[in-house]
Amino acid sequence: MKARTVMTCREAIEFIAEYLDGALPVPVRTEFERHLAVCPSCEAYLDGYRRTVAMGRAAFAELQGPTGGTLPEGLVRAICAAQEKRGSG
């Protein structure tokens, strides 16, 4: 049986983003952590949420190097031609 805490799951889950950003005021953070300590469901939710954010960021890592790769030559030509046309038009 779940122990009674002041903060509900609904409230705790609404605070997750600010909690991870370190933006919760101390009293709210304390209540949040107290809730987590007695609520395995919210603790699991927080872990899944945190990993979701990390995986979202990692999902595109292979599409971005430090310079983002090279522009296809055809696109370089098209952009330069469009600019030239605009400049002379």
Partner: protein, 221 residues
Amino acid sequence: MNTHVWETAVLPHGPEPSPPEVEAPDSSPDAGLVLRIKSGDADAFEELVREAGGRMLAVARRMLVNEDDAQDAVQEAFLSAIKSLDRFDGRSRLTTWLHRIVVNACLMKIRSRRRRPERSIEDLLPQFRDDGHQKTPSQSWKPAGPSGIEQGEVRELVRRMIGELPEQYRVVLTLRDIEGLDTEAAAEVLGVTPNAVKVRLHRARQALKSLLDPYFAEGFA
């Protein structure tokens, strides 16, 4: 090949956003290149396209997925940038300025294309009982993720699930978590309040988690 000519490139909230990284005007390494472009030096323009284009195309690919759309957005962004180059005062990094312009160009593309039917975000958010506790307890995620799937496949799966999100949530998640814009910058680009960005980002992450649960949570087949 992409050969569209964008005669008018009006971006939703102006193509010359205030960049967050500020440098002294004289110390900008881009100042010389910008001056040459302003004077009509075609070689300088091409130099800029080659130097910054790859990074901009990577941004467009992350936001638009479709390769033709991504290349169109990059072209539109360059032409918009040149059009408003007089307003670039050299106090910021040119790459930062161009990043914001290509993000705007991508948003224009997203808004202009036909909307596909989307699932409701509500279906992907946690449900609660009247007493405020979760209707269905959350399951822990497997420590190592799904078995038998390579990391590359996991990344592809996550990209696909991000693509499943309703557009207004997917865009915010992309700007904040993937492009790294802060809340205020994302709000400025989207023309919404910072609080709206925070709410949408939280919901987008929650929805993405729900879409990933079947692959990562204990208790799913």
